[in-house]
């Protein structure tokens, strides 16, 4: 699908720049001479995270008015400035915020938001409000196809995410890297797949997929396992520990894609959301500490998004329904820590939903430029990079 740059998108991209950000060209020298390209960890909070109870406009009277049952009291939350506070479960994020490792981009979305999980996820993963068949990471891989290594991995036992769909680099999904080992007959299998790769049609496709698998598995075979000490229990925590092991093995990984589900809190939200955010915060605090121990903290950045936020007004089931804009988090040693962009207004809603203030593509563009060290123009055309580093 071709992307046409609409004037509206361009204007929104400009508007997305925080007041204190330096408007920079793609040619400027990037965050200090010591930092080469970083590995980017992309985390999808699947189901639609309730952004309003994550980064909370705690003193806005509209917040308590819209949420008689779900609003949190200021004394229970973790204040980050005079207006905004973090959910009490996010103690791990507060620690990262205080040590200068957490950037929070507020009110992130795109024009004409979609409220379907699938369509909205497709839009985020494609990096295009029209959706599409290639992923934003996939286009980055295509743009930099000369780079070598096992470049992008999804930790999943499902189909590869659309974000990684590329025309040059077959997707690699791994459930557990410690388990990603070659079978005993791998040598003979390789001979068969190499033969198949030399033939035509679908035989070549399956042959190449096999060879790709053997390459990936032999690279991962010297995985530098680490300790799980400090990681809390939970699925995201396990995936982040695996991510640190993969990145630490020095096999050329540039992107790791993770999904952390359960955020579709239509009913009885308070307890469930607290569990999810507690794991999110503590897992990332442990991950950053693990990276520091491995001497990798300056080489890795993480971006955390959800396909949409939830409606400001709570529903009658103690939960919230699908909404629009939400916060995006960027975690790195060396990030421009703090709040970026504007918190969306609770006073002027669009059909009951938040109006976005930062276009998600400006974050992608900033990450492609300053973290993955590539030209963002082919990856997210028309987007103005948000300076996060």
């Amino acid at each position: 699908m071709t992307h046409t740059i609409e004037r509206r998108d361009f204007v929104m991209g400009l508007f997305a720049l925080p007041a204190f950000a330096v408007i920079a060209s793609t040619a400027r020298p990037l965050f200090g001479a010591e930092s080469a390209a970083r590995t980017l960890v992309v985390v999808h909070l699947a189901g639609g995270n309730d952004g309003l109870n994550t980064v909370i406009p705690i003193h806005d009277p509209n917040y308590a008015r819209l949420r008689p049952a779900l609003s949190l009291a200021a004394r229970d939350t973790l204040a980050i400035d005079g207006q905004m506070a973090l959910h009490p479960g996010l103690g791990g994020f507060k620690k990262l915020y205080d040590s200068g490792q957490l950037a929070i981009v507020q009110g992130v979305g795109y024009p004409s938001p979609d409220f379907s999980h699938f369509r909205a996820t497709e839009i985020w993963e494609a990096g295009d409000p029209n959706g599409g068949v290639s992923g934003w990471i996939g286009r980055f891989l295509d743009e930099t196809r000369e780079r070598r290594g096992l470049r992008a991995v999804a930790l999943s036992n499902e189909q590869p995410p659309l974000a990684l769909a590329s025309s040059s680099s077959p997707p690699v999904t791994i459930d557990d890297p410690r388990d990603f080992t070659l079978p005993a007959n791998a040598g003979m299998l390789r001979t068969m797949y190499a033969d198949s790769a030399r033939q035509g049609g679908t035989r070549a496709v399956v042959g190449e997929a096999g060879l790709e698998t053997f390459d990936a598995a032999s690279k991962i075979s010297n995985l530098r396992q680490g300790s799980s000490a400090g990681y809390p229990p939970g699925e995201l925590s396990t995936d982040l520990r695996r991510t640190a092991e993969l990145i630490g093995s020095g096999i050329g990984i540039e992107v790791v894609h993770l999904s952390f589900g359960g955020f579709d809190t239509h009913v009885n939200q308070l307890g469930k959301h607290n569990q999810l955010l507690t794991q999110l915060g503590n897992a990332f605090a442990a991950f950053q500490e693990d990276l520091r121990r491995r001497g990798l903290s300056k080489q890795v950045a993480s971006v955390i998004f959800s396909e949409f936020g939830r409606r400001p007004a709570e529903n009658f089931g103690g939960g919230t329904d699908h909404g629009s804009a939400g916060p995006v988090f960027v975690i790195a040693d060396g990030v421009r820590a703090g709040l970026h962009g504007q918190a969306p207004s609770l006073a002027s809603l669009d059909n009951g939903n938040l109006v976005f203030t930062t276009d998600f593509r400006s974050i992608y563009a900033g990450l492609v430029r300053d973290c993955l060290r590539a030209d963002p123009r082919a990856v997210v055309p028309g987007a103005v990079p948000l300076a996060l580093f």
Binding site: F118, P160, P170, T173, T191, T202, R203, V205, A209, T213
Partner: protein
Amino acid sequence: MGSHDVGHLLRRTGFGPSPHEFEAFASLGFERAVDRLVDGLSQPPAPDPAGFNPYLPGAITSGWMERMRSSETPLAEKLALFWHGHFATSLRKVDDPRLMWRQVATFRTLGGGRFSALVGAVSRDPAMIRWLDGNSNRKGAPNENFARELMELFTIGRGNYSERDVREAARAFTGWGAETTGFVLRAEYHDTGPKTVLGESGNFDGDDVVRIITGRPECARFISAKLIAWFSHPDPSESEIAAAASVFARSGGKIADVVRHILLAPAFRSAASYRSLVKSPVEYVVGAIKVAGLASVPAWTVEMPGKMGQTLFAPPTVKGWDGGRAWLAAGAMLERFRFAARIAPDARDAGGTIALGFDGVVPPGVAAVIDRVTGADRVALALSSPEFQLN
């Protein structure tokens, strides 16, 4: 017919040959064989086994895999799998395995009949109604989820309708809800006012919308192209689509007639079609169980398609599984090799399994390797080979 054609036909119309099926079909001519398979669609499906309980863990997955393995009418199961990927509904939201099982039973029973009747049944299907929010589609506050997917993914495809058509169609389905017991029409929520859908106007309800969209030429083309890519070969040509779509139109949308046409078209038996499709995980696992001559689906294999990226009853999105190259991600490939190594010792007869798996002729690139080993190791390599990943 030759063993090449027998294997090809049974892989495409089912889950590959068992030793017994291979013998039964080898004695038939190709057209007789196609007739037998397609005519099987009008037979009533076998009842569920006594004591079948969809609420037991894994029951619906193992129950369906066992049907795929043992069905006397494999084409009905293959079409049910096609429609499961087409009207892709997930247990993760429906949250009731009995409703998922019922939906697949509908695909099995109606999958070869008139497309309009199938879409009508899907519009009333409780799992679909939960999946695409039919219960919240009410007069004055229509939920467009079902109406949009109905046009975009289920019948005519993107580019053949407007946003207004979606909104108007959603109004026609207002009040079409579901309880755990079944479909309910909630008259107080139904919008009885006039609507205009794809240029036709009237006080439409959901059945009228189904009639209008399934009668469109775009629908005949959309469904025909997808059926050719499922049964015959990827990327069908314009003229192939037009020929199948005209069978669709002439027959009043009878899916069995379109399938028969696709199987009898010259392209189906061409070299370009043979082994041109990547087996989905469930086709791979059930196919291996069948060529190995096993008498039932082993319990440990039930979770294998999920590990390879295809959890039955839980497609990743309403678009279903992408299929093709997407089945061959690295982690999924390793799972295929592990499965092959584990099932190989259970094969009834190593030589017979290998002959059946390769339609009697082991490809040279495979033969050169498997001849270095013996017994179960040979079977493991054969089932892991690139050729065996293809349908």
